[in-house]
């Protein structure tokens, strides 16, 4: 919690100090009121008092109350600006930090968790600063102030007040110990309900096909009963809270009057003092309640701040070089030299000793079953990850010696899972080249076989978040067009044709071959049909190169390639093809 405050701008500390001063003033004003009240009491109980005196005292009381109001409003003004400003600052810092991350860091945290950290966690901190921080400052000042006022007036009544505080603290502790562990399990049980329901929903067709509704329902009932039981327990315990608080407060008032009567009778206490005492003791209790509230708030905020700190303090593994390499003049060349790779927290090598060189204008394919390391290989080229051993060279220069921006400019990456960004068709196509002309766009669209998307939606057509309003095939073609608009030296197609039907797949590859002759194409694929005509095919199995050559060569001498081919094409197809 404290560490997050290091992100405070200097003037936040000033604001905080100002807030502290204002709150001290407010509490002072609040504490004066009972004194004037006891003055009124003595005026009333002293025969022959002037009415104008009562008016005078009354007006002072109103002035005090108004002053207190002004202070509170000022304090909450400062708190609100500070909290919202700090939230803005944190959100910005986290977002920028994440943008600087490589895939290493992203995967370390997981995307979902990063999203929560940048949204909910920041919001938690904001809430804590607006409400919690103010309570945290007010409560001790108020408690101390009230206790100072009480002191020396009546030891007995002070003791009584403390007894009341003690009861409350013990009770809250009791609730905390009994209810909080159950509270935590509620979250788990709710997740369980969620999970069972999700299971039923995702498997709806299977559930129905097997007439297994009753089975799923029974499972749900179990989860439902468990969550209800825990909720019942927790809420029944929490229901104690209000009656107990009430009885303590009421009991304290009564105690003061009752004990006060005896004390007054014994001439050790005055009536007005007793009256003001009632108010002071209430204020002490109130400040303790405030503190308790803060402690209920605090754990959530401190967990959030810890999570934000984790992001901010992460050291980036992949950084730009201090002195980037000079341009070699070579274009469209890609080379792997004895590259081995394992994920930072993984145990085994995903790629082992890979070497190859793709020349300008070549179509270079990589094939292999799932888990053979194809996508990992591709990820090393734009430095999503860095090699563990060996070198990756683009245009004769180690990728680590480029500024990342420069490196990415050379590459047209088409991911496996096509994603678009909210905006328009046009803004998505221009994603990699802001100033592309309409002709360039039209050409790219044509090559990517995305004409019918433009016909249907137009360039101004709306694209929803992540491209959710388009089908998988449409998204894939759009993301291919996006890469073509960029006009890169090297294309990386990471299984980018999988959502296309065979016919579109073929047309697209033909168009690419025809129109983009200068660029080097690196294609990762699962379908033999997609890569059959590549200039060179690399066959990966379990992270190693087990075949290297053209379709015909591999068909003749690479057993893994043969297996893949046989599972996808029938024998005669292969013979005729």
């Amino acid at each position: 919690m404290i560490r997050i405050l290091k992100n405070f701008k200097w003037y936040y500390w000033l604001m905080l100090a100002l807030m502290l001063l204002i709150i001290v003033g407010q509490v002072q004003l609040d504490l004066i009121v009972p004194e004037y009240m006891s003055q009124i009491v003595s005026l009333v109980t002293t025969p022959g008092s002037e009415m104008s005196e009562i008016w005078r005292v009354g007006l002072i009381m109103i002035a005090c109350a108004f002053g207190s109001l002004v202070c509170t409003v000022l304090a909450s003004f400062i708190a609100a600006r500070m909290a919202a400003g700090f939230a803005e600052l944190l959100r910005d810092k986290v977002f920028r930090k994440v943008e600087s991350f490589s895939m290493n860091e992203i995967n370390k945290f997981s995307t979902a968790s990063l999203i929560t950290r940048c949204t909910n966690d920041v919001q938690q901190i904001q809430t804590f600063i607006t409400i919690g921080l103010r309570l945290l400052i007010t409560a001790p000042i108020m408690a101390i102030g009230a206790i100072v006022k009480m002191s020396g007036k009546s030891g007995e009544l002070t003791l009584l007040t403390f007894a009341g505080v003690l009861v409350i603290v013990v009770f809250v502790l009791f609730i905390y110990i009994v209810a909080v562990p159950r509270f935590k399990s509620i979250q788990k049980l709710t997740d369980r309900i969620n999970k069972v329901t999700r299971e039923n929903l995702t498997g709806l067709r299977v559930v129905r096909a097997y007439n297994a509704e009753a089975y799923q329902e029974e499972k749900f009932d179990k989860a439902n009963t468990a969550v209800t039981k825990t909720y019942l327990f927790v809420n029944r315990v929490l229901s104690l809270m209000q009656p107990v608080m009430q009885i303590v407060m009421n009991g304290l008032s009564l105690g003061i009057v009752w004990l006060g009567a005896t004390l007054i009778n014994a001439n050790v206490l005055e009536l007005p003092t007793m009256m003001s005492f009632t108010m002071y003791s209430m204020q002490v209790i109130l400040s303790f309640l405030m503190l308790i509230m803060v402690f209920i708030f605090m754990p959530r905020a401190s967990v959030s701040s810890k999570r934000i700190n984790e992001v901010l303090s992460t050291k980036n593994i992949i950084n730009d070089p201090e002195t980037p390499a000079a341009d070699t003049g070579i274009k469209g060349e890609l080379e792997f030299r004895n590259v081995s790779f394992k994920y930072p927290d993984g145990d085994g090598y995903v790629l082992k000793d890979i070497s190859f060189k793709a020349e300008k204008g070549q179509t270079f394919a990589i094939i292999g079953s799932t888990g053979s390391g194809k996508s990992s290989l591709l990820n090393l080229i734009p430095r999503f990850y860095d090699v563990t051993e060996g070198e990756v060279l683009v245009d004769g220069v180690n990728v680590k010696e480029y500024r990342q921006e420069e490196l990415h400019d050379k590459i047209g990456y088409v991911p496996q899972k096509a994603v678009l960004f909210s905006g328009t068709v046009d803004s998505n196509l221009r994603f990699g080249k802001e100033d592309a002309t309409r002709e360039e766009l039209a050409k790219a669209v044509k090559i990517a076989q995305a004409n019918n998307i433009i016909e249907k939606k137009g360039y101004g057509g709306n694209v929803a978040q992540g491209g959710q309003n388009m089908s998988g095939g449409q998204k894939q073609r759009m993301s291919i067009a996006r890469a073509i608009v960029k006009n890169p030296e090297i294309y990386l197609f990471d299984d980018s044709f999988s959502a296309l039907d065979y016919k579109t797949d073929r047309l697209l590859r033909e168009a690419i071959n025809k129109n983009i002759k200068d660029a080097t194409n690196i294609i990762v694929a699962q379908r033999i049909g997609t890569i059959k005509n590549a200039d060179r095919i690399l066959v990966l199995d379990d992270g190693r190169v087990v075949g290297d050559g053209t379709h015909e060569e591999l068909l003749a001498n690479c057993s893994v390639y043969q297996e893949i081919a046989h599972s996808q094409l029938s024998k005669e197809e292969l013979a005729n093809g």
Partner: protein, 603 residues
């Protein structure tokens, strides 16, 4: 307060479409708890009444003290003791009734939530698939958890708070006017002031809360989009562009967030101030009355009033809170009821026809079908399939191959025409009956959390281990299951390390265990390694052996060996026949076939 932590948007509650309707439905739903609810509300009234009477007693003690100071006998401690004792009893009763009320209401609310969840889970299985095909799971899920939780958290509080508040206000008014009408007027006079101030603040802050909510929604969407496409953004050097957009929204959030927070933060101090005004007013007016009348014991009345004024501000704040939470409760209840009132699948209780064992002849006669009324996609489809034949369904992605599955399984009803199984019209059979006749293996390899045995025997009783072992052998899973720590009783959950291929094999095994006379198979396209692929193929061949089978085919060998190929495009079946016939025809199928396996034309 606790609400505040949930995102800082207490002030902005979602509104239901019709408060009255939701309330009526909720009331109806809660009817079984009417009697305990009345008891709880009576308890609330009782607790409040004790709470209201007690200040009067405290006032009497103060009066006794003042009297005692004046009289030579000193203070009448005995009488004070009596009053004190009566107060102790009262406070005790107040607490007991208060707790009883809380206990009962909590219980009712949680029981109701339990019923809500149960009803939703039952409803899921009674709704037609059409409902889910047009909606996201998240939508249904959030009703089971978020909405029901919302009802659970607020119903309890808002109901009892409302009753307490009303009792409190009425009781306090009575007590105050009985004790001293002049002071009562002073105390009540503050009410309209605070109501007006609160209304003004709420109306302004509501605007900013709504704004803040919108911007937060926008920024969350942006963050989600950006973070989940990190690799693309990196590769296209779009970080700065994304940061710019982000900064724009972030700035706007700041503007509305601090205003919203500040304005809602004003509420409490203003209420306190108005309360203090009442307080001081009572002191002044009370003092004046006391001096004018020369009645020293009036100090007792003032004491009671000081407590009354403090109590009086409570129900007022509660009212505004309750109004807000009630709105959220009703909005949540409305969503739950909307779901529960969705139209269910047609009633089948009147259907008497039942097919137990079938040969597996299937005939489509003049079948027309469309998902949306008036938009027919399958036009006048006829086909006659003999028992044991293999039917391959082919077509490009999005051609609507699953439509046929939907019709065969009676997940959807045909618009017109009829499907016959062994000559019996499907429309005369219950859905459960049709489901029993088909085994089904889908691409998305759905397994549920449970043991392997449960996953295989899914919903069926009395399957012997012998049968299971045979099936495991036939699907090539025997070795895999043997290596598991608990064999067939190993629990499959998130932590189980099980590959995509093994999942697929398990779903095939499940269909084998079901041993239905007819089959629907969706061949996996990719994402398994070659060896597993061969295993799966063998298992599928074993499974289809001797059964009428509909196969959504991706593999050429399957297609070429099929007895009948149904070629689909844009939702409709446009060609049918076997491979040779269709090739000869030179239509869409021939084109599709050639494009896949012909050499790409060379330059």
């Amino acid at each position: 307060m606790a609400n505040m932590a949930g995102g800082g948007n207490v002030q902005y509650a979602e509104r239901p479409r019709s408060m009255k309707k939701s309330f009526g439905k909720l009331a109806l739903f809660l009817k079984p708890y009417l009697i305990p609810m009345i008891v709880a509300l009576l308890c609330a009234v009782a607790a409040t009444v004790f709470n209201i009477i007690s200040p009067d007693r405290i006032g009497r003690i103060t009066a006794l003290i003042t009297e005692g100071l004046m009289s030579p006998d000193g203070i009448d401690l005995a009488q004070i003791g009596q009053i004190g004792l009566s107060l102790v009893i009262m406070y005790g009763c107040c607490a007991v009734f208060g707790y009883a009320q809380g206990w009962i209401m909590t219980t009712i609310t949680q029981r109701a939530c339990n019923r809500f969840r149960k009803a939703i889970s039952r409803k899921i299985n009674r709704l037609p698939l059409k409902y889910f095909d047009t909606r996201s799971y998240g939508d249904v899920l959030s009703r089971v958890t978020n909405d029901v939780d919302m009802i659970g958290q607020t119903l309890n509080q808002s109901l009892s708070q409302m009753v307490t508040a009303v009792t409190m206000i009425v009781g306090l008014l009575i007590m105050m006017f009985i004790t001293s009408w002049q002071l009562a007027i002073v105390a009540v006079a503050t009410v309209p002031v605070s109501i007006i101030l609160v209304l003004i603040i709420v109306s302004i802050s509501q605007k900013y809360f709504k704004q803040q909510q919108n911007y937060l929604g926008a920024i969350n969407g942006h963050i989600e989009e950006v973070f989940s496409s990190h690799n693309v953004i990196k590769a296209y050097n779009a970080e700065d562009k994304m940061i710019n957009t982000f900064d724009g929204i972030n700035r706007r959030i700041y503007g509305s967030a601090w205003r919203a927070q500040f304005l809602s933060g004003m509420m409490q101090p203003i209420m306190t101030f108005v309360g203090n005004l009442g307080y001081v007013g009572v002191c002044i007016v009370g003092g004046i009355i006391a001096i004018q009348n020369g009645d020293v014991t009036f100090i007792g009345v003032i004491t009671s009033f000081m407590i009354y004024v403090r109590l009086f501000s409570q129900p007022l704040t509660q009212f505004s809170q309750v109004a807000n939470t009630m709105q959220s409760t009703m909005a949540a209840a409305e969503r739950v009821f909307d779901f529960l009132e969705e139209e269910e699948m047609s009633d089948e209780s009147g259907m008497t026809a039942k097919l137990d064992s079938v040969k597996g002849d299937i005939r489509f006669e003049h079948v027309n079908f469309g998902y949306v009324p008036g938009k027919i996609i399958i036009h006048d489809f006829n086909v006659d399939i003999k028992a044991g034949q293999k039917v391959a369904i082919v077509g490009p992605t999005g051609a609507g191959k699953t439509t046929l599955v939907n019709l065969l399984m009676k997940f959807y009803d045909v618009t017109s025409g009829e499907i016959y199984i062994d000559g019996v019209p499907v429309s005369s059979l219950t859905r459960a009956n049709v489901h029993d006749l088909f085994g089904m293996v889908l691409q998305d390899t759905w397994l549920f959390e449970g043991t392997i045995r449960e996953n295989l025997t899914y919903g069926k009783e009395g399957i012997s281990d012998d049968t299971l072992n045979k099936v495991l052998k036939a699907t090539g899973l025997e070795h895999f299951v043997k290596t598991l720590p608990h064999g067939l009783d190993t629990v499959l959950d998130d932590n189980t390390n099980i590959s995509q291929g093994q999942r697929q094999l398990l779903t095939i095994a499940r269909a084998m265990v079901e041993n239905a006379p007819m089959l629907i198979l969706d061949e996996a396209t990719s994402s398994v390694d070659t060896r597993t692929e061969i295993l799966i193929q063998q298992a599928m061949d074993n499974l289809t052996h001797g059964r009428t089978a509909f196969i959504i085919a991706h593999r050429l060998s399957t297609i070429k060996n099929a007895d009948i190929i149904l070629v689909m495009k844009d939702g409709n079946i446009i060609e049918q026949g076997n491979h040779a016939q269709l090739m000869e025809k030179g239509g869409f199928y021939a084109d599709l076939y050639n494009s896949q396996f012909d050499q790409a034309e060379e330059e």
